[in-house]
């Protein structure tokens, strides 16, 4: 059954029972169907605060940035919905985690990194400032390079001796 397509700016009742919502991967992107007969055919899923609440306060947006509803608990959704939402979030917020530091050096201010990450080998340049270096829970640190790419630096205890030494020499 072809359901009714809602205009992107359509309002959904923010108190809509989440069990009536179904998310699926459609031809145009992520599709939200409400109560089996109305659809927003290209929604985007974001965390309201990905750094402090990386599992809660999930916002459903249409284009242009306009929140149609916020989900606090995904488990009330059906399995497919949970899967496509988690896929979408995982992809959007994927940040390479540094696993080894190959070299780290200052040159006239900026810090040059050559690292191995969970996504492969990488070089990047960082200006050290409170905007570019953010503490995360669990002793992790999020680094943002000059292009805006993010990298997670894990708790130093989990890194090998050489990486730790390079970081300690450069940063502490």
């Amino acid at each position: 059954m072809e359901d009714h397509i809602l205009a992107p700016e359509s309002d959904l009742d923010p108190h809509t029972d989440p069990r009536l919502l179904h998310f699926s991967r459609g031809r145009w992107g992520l599709r939200l169907t409400v109560d089996g007969d109305r659809s927003l055919w290209r929604v985007r899923i974001r965390f309201a605060d990905p750094l402090r609440y990386p599992d809660e306060f999930i916002s459903v947006l249409t284009d242009p940035d306009r929140e149609v509803l916020m989900l606090n608990d995904l488990t009330v959704l059906d399995e497919e919905s949970q899967r496509v939402i988690n896929e979408s979030l995982g992809r959007f917020y994927a940040v390479p985690a540094i696993t080894r530091v190959r070299s780290l050096s200052y040159k006239l201010g900026p810090l040059y990194w050559h690292v191995d990450t969970t996504h492969g080998e990488r070089e990047f340049v960082l200006h050290w400032s409170s905007e570019n270096v953010v503490d995360l829970p669990g002793g992790r640190v999020r680094l943002m390079d000059v292009s805006g790419n993010r990298y997670d630096l894990p708790d130093l205890g989990t890194l090998d001796e050489d990486s730790r030494k390079l970081i300690m020499e450069a940063l502490t």
């Binding site: 992107g29 242009p64 994927a94 006239l108 201010g109 040059y112 805006g148 450069a170």
Partner: protein, 751 residues
């Protein structure tokens, strides 16, 4: 054709190339664009190629010249649109086809601007319009050394060699050659004088006290008296030369750092806004105040210290080798260990000082922010919270300072212990030689006297390395700023537009503050001379960015802005800005008088002209009622005036400048109704005959605009007069007006 090549780690350089066309030419297609991505489809750092010909968009898993079989290909017949979607650390190029959307290639944010440009080219080709890749895309790697560049507007910091820093510091001595030579001579004289006392001591012990040279008791006492006289003369001469050399060094250091501070400040004034946004005020303040001070300390104290001690090291070694070379070699035993230790100290303290600087810069930045925001913290009764946060940051700064000092001290103590081993060895082997009559007691005492001076350069290397660490780290930052490219006020080949006619055209302009997140997308509009354009839209829709680009605060990522038919990039910036007037929502006044602030953009204006401008701005009446009239001092940032008064002074400033192009950014947003009426009257006079761009939150104030540009999501969605736009019942402008009416009604009902 532009070819962008990309390495595993995110480099992309755009260059023209012909040899790689052959594969596609054989197929009868012309290559338009080639871009190498740095992320594969599984989001791992890897390689993929995007190739756009005049017929198709192709993606390759391997270099298309090596393996010309595409992983996927789309004909322009089926492509309806192309765009990029940016995620936290990556993005994708998405094609909209007739029945679906497909992400064809992924990339890191490093290449976001390059792929956004590729999307523009694809979109244009899909519409049948020829398009070329932009030649304004940011370089990612240094063309010289291939290393990553440290920012969109930065120069390669690796290519600025470290030893070049020292040479550049030395370069500052050139205008003060005479003083520098006098410092060197004074240093040399002082060094030679310091060599005298141990030699005299040896003669005292061996000749006068022990009488090895023979002579009567009276003759020996006479010799003693003469030698003491020599010591006194040497001490007086040494003190005199030291005083003069310190004075000269202070003079030299002061002049050089004043010159450097001046250069840094002038440079900061001419650097683009993007640079200031990237660095923040706190760190730039620290740069001007603290880094130049560290450099001064190094030049005044460090350089003479190093020079004296290096000379001393060489002279003493010469004397010791001449007197007793075997014992002199023993003196040298701890030297390699001390040099190694000093080098380690240099490395360690350098990183500590860098960290300390970072913490201090963050501290200064937060401190200035909280002092500027003191009214807000008081209004919300958050003084205690601010104090607590200050204490935390102060604590971090304290700990960083203590750690730096303690570590330096600890390393210095270790070095001192190594030094003392030399003294033990000299006593042991020298004592043996004295006992067995190889050398005299005087010679041994002389050796020990020289030891202190000989080891001093190494012993105090920690102190010197602190000075050097601080000064070099500061100098590096200073030179980094001095080497950053300025706004091109008069670029080669630029033309001066005087007088400006006031026509303006945006041709497919895209701009992003952050790579891959366009704040303006494909803007194409044109404005006639003297037209008044109202810019409307929600916050963040792109209105302010539009006027930033008009003012050439930033350069477009792609597309062109034409003023009077000339590319804005080719217009002499000074001549252009001299004909642009700006009135902002929160006008910035400098501490000084009312008259000085009005005449800020035209310092040669006469008092009559200032008064005329103030009258036209409806500011004259309140100014003359101030106790000092036009000489009233407005205070830091104009805090002694109300918001409406500051606004009218800024309008007077714009009127006095008599600009041909006028920018009004929410000029009446934060004032009461009566003040708004006065400002509106003043603005109505001001906009006459000038091309005007006005942003206003209250849409009613733009009713009389010749045309309105309605922004949404970085695009201009609607254009037309108020009446034309109101005839579009589902239009954005119509909806915004209705919303404002609704809000006004609620306000009336709610009182």
């Amino acid at each position: 054709m532009a070819v962008a090549t990309e390495r595993r780690d995110g480099a992309a350089t755009v260059s023209t190339g012909c040899n790689e066309r052959r594969v596609w030419q054989l197929l009868g297609e012309r290559e338009q664009l080639r871009l190498q991505s740095d992320v594969d489809q599984a989001d791992r750092f890897g390689q993929r190629w995007l190739l756009v010909t005049d017929r198709r968009v192709l993606v390759f898993a391997q270099d298309p010249d090596v393996a010309p079989q595409p992983a996927t290909a789309f004909s322009f017949d089926e492509i309806k649109d192309a765009d990029t979607e940016i995620e936290v650390s990556a993005g994708g190029l998405v094609l909209t086809l007739a029945h679906n959307r497909v992400e064809v290639i992924r990339f890191s944010r490093t290449l976001a601007a390059h792929f956004a440009d590729a999307a523009r080219v694809i979109r244009s080709l899909a519409e049948g319009v020829p398009a070329q890749p932009s030649d304004k895309l940011p370089l990612i790697r240094c063309p010289r050394c291939g290393r990553l560049l440290p920012g969109r507007h930065a120069r390669c910091s690796v290519c600025i060699q470290t030893h070049a820093v020292l040479l550049r510091i030395a370069g500052y001595l050139r205008p003060h050659r005479a003083i520098a030579v006098a410092v060197v001579l004074a240093t040399l004289g002082r060094t030679l004088i310091q060599l005298i006392p141990p030699l005299v001591t040896r003669r005292m012990i061996d000749g006068a006290l022990q009488g090895h040279a023979g002579g009567t008791v009276d003759q020996r006492f006479h010799l003693m008296t003469s030698l003491v006289g020599i010591l006194i003369v040497a001490a007086i001469a040494g003190a005199g030369i030291q005083t003069v050399s310190q004075w000269l060094a202070a003079l030299l250091g002061g002049r050089i750092t004043a010159q450097m501070r001046g250069e840094v400040y002038r440079k900061l004034e001419h650097l683009p806004l993007a640079f200031h946004n990237e660095r923040g005020t706190g760190s730039l303040l620290a740069l001007i105040n603290q880094d130049t001070a560290a450099l001064e300390q190094f030049l005044v104290q460090g350089v003479p210290f190093i020079a004296t001690n290096v000379l001393m090291f060489v002279f003493i070694l010469g004397v010791l080798l001449k007197v007793q070379w075997e014992l002199a070699l023993i003196v040298l035993i701890p030297v390699p260990l001390m040099l190694f230790g000093s080098q380690r100290i240099w490395v360690r303290t350098s990183s500590l000082y860098r960290r300390w600087w970072r913490v201090r810069a963050a501290f200064s930045s937060r401190l200035s922010e909280s002092l500027y925001g003191i009214r807000v913290s008081k209004a919300f009764a958050q003084e205690d919270r601010e104090s607590t946060e200050f204490d935390q940051r102060n604590g971090v700064l304290r700990e960083a300072g203590i750690k730096t000092a303690v570590t330096s001290q600890r390393l210095s103590t270790t070095l001192n212990f190594i030094n003392s081993t030399g003294i033990f060895l000299v006593w042991l082997f020298g004592g043996h030689d004295v006992i067995y009559g190889v050398i005299s007691l005087g010679t041994l005492v002389m050796f020990n006297s020289y030891l202190g001076q000989f080891y001093a350069p190494l012993q105090y290397f920690t102190q010197v390395s602190q000075w050097m660490s601080q000064a070099f780290a500061g100098a590096e930052r200073v030179f980094e700023v001095l080497d950053s490219p300025e706004e091109a006020y008069v670029a080669p080949g630029s033309v001066a537009l005087s007088p400006l006619q006031g026509s303006l055209e945006f041709r497919d302009v895209t701009f992003s503050y952050e790579r891959g997140k366009p704040a303006l997308k494909h803007i194409s509009v044109s404005v006639k001379p003297g037209e008044m354009i109202g810019l409307v839209g929600r916050s963040g829709s792109g209105k302010s960015t539009f006027i930033h680009l008009v003012n050439r605060f930033y350069e477009p990522d792609s597309g062109q802005i034409l003023v009077d038919g000339v590319d804005l990039q080719r217009i002499d910036l000074r001549s252009f800005r001299e004909q642009v007037g700006v009135v902002l929502q929160d006008p910035f006044l400098f501490s000084g008088t009312v008259a000085e602030n009005i005449a800020y953009a035209r310092p040669d204006a006469s008092f009559r002209q200032i008064v005329a401008a103030a009258k036209a701005a409806n500011a004259h009446d309140f100014i003359v009622s101030l106790e000092d009239g036009y000489s009233f001092r407005v205070g830091e940032r104009g805090h002694r005036l109300s918001g409406g008064e500051r606004q009218r002074i800024s309008i007077a400033r714009a009127i006095l400048r008599d600009p041909q192009l006028l920018i009004l950014d929410e000029a009446t947003a934060s004032v009461d109704t009566e003040t708004e009426r006065l400002i509106q009257e003043a603005l109505a006079r001001l906009v006459q005959g000038r091309t005007t761009f006005a942003i206003a939150h209250r849409l009613s104030t733009l009713r009389n605009a010749d045309r309105l540009f309605v922004f949404e999501g970085g695009e201009i969605k609607e254009t037309g007069t108020h009446d034309e736009l109101m005839e579009m019942p589902h239009g954005i402008y119509h909806r915004l007006v209705e919303l404002q009416r609704e809000v006004s009604r609620i306000r009336v009902v709610g009182g």
